[in-house]
Point group: C2
């Protein structure tokens, strides 16, 4: 990754999302992405394995951040408190990224293969969170149930946060979703 390509990775990601939004994910080639970014295909493949990976390159870091915040919660924290710490950490990543998130989401929603990949990402995060909770001493099935609930809160909160009329910060919307889940679970 030479000095003559400042922020090549970011430029490629922006160019890809632009093209996917303009002409559709399927209709976009790696050659076009590289051209739009003013770079070569060779440079593209130094940063991303394929055009799909551009959209999911952050998934591993996001999962790691979520897991580390859950693990790093105070020892006294019950599962829902540890998850709250994880959700807060994840929300920080999205600050000032709402427009990017909206466009990425629209691209994914329009393509079955990408929707599948997104489901796999969430399932992987859920499994990693359950493992983190078990390491905190939470027994099964509570660990898996808490992890699934955490991912549900993240997913529903995220989708509300990117809604056209939503202006509040993601952290606030996600906290509201968590409260919503707790109210549902409480019953009446």
């Amino acid at each position: 990754m030479g000095r003559w390509e400042p922020d090549a990775r970011g430029r490629l990601a922006s160019a890809a999302l632009e093209l996917y939004s303009e002409r559709g994910y399927e209709q976009t080639t790696v050659a076009e992405i590289a051209k739009r970014a003013g770079l070569t295909e060779r440079t593209f493949f130094r940063h991303y394995a394929d055009k799909r990976e551009v959209l999911f390159a952050g998934a591993g870091d996001l999962q790691e951040l979520f897991v580390q915040a859950v693990e790093g919660a105070p020892e006294s924290a019950v599962p829902v408190e540890a998850l709250t710490a994880g959700l807060d950490a994840v929300c920080e990543v999205f600050v000032d990224r709402r427009e990017y998130a909206r466009r990425r989401h629209a691209v994914i929603a329009a393509n079955a293969e990408l929707r599948e990949r997104e489901l796999i990402k969430l399932a992987s995060m859920s499994a990693a969170l359950a493992a983190a909770l078990r390491r905190r001493g939470v027994a099964e099935p509570a660990a898996s149930l808490a992890a699934e609930a955490g991912i549900a809160v993240f997913k529903v909160g995220f989708e509300r946060w990117i809604a056209a009329d939503e202006e509040r910060e993601m952290a606030q919307v996600v906290r509201e979703s968590l409260d919503g889940l707790r109210t549902v679970a409480r019953g009446r």
Copy 2:
């Protein structure tokens, strides 16, 4: 579907699961499934679109059953009560099917494409449940959160029910998972 092929559909499903378990899903052909069932390929394709569909043919009925039970819950039922009615209805389908469910699950767990298909099935059920809850007058995000929670309970409960050492009925295990989620959500 002629009289000379009694329960062709069931025989094909059994033969397919046997072969997937014995030699792996990828290594099994439709011709082999038909042969094992004592039927022709042509008959196979009258019942199933492809070899994957054999494993997911019941998904639509299961979702419909879940949705109808949620919709049919008493008007006074809060979301978690409507979901409980749905979960109970779904559990009845699995009575006496634990061995089949175990073998199917093992086949799916061993193949990435099938695991994806299973995730899509669950996401579709969640969306259908959220729609059913909205028709019951539940607002968003509560409807989506309750639906995701219901699917989480089903998924975690199902996986516990098919565990090697589990002997209780699915309805009981799933109820326990629902209680587990409610305890997690309660906090302390």
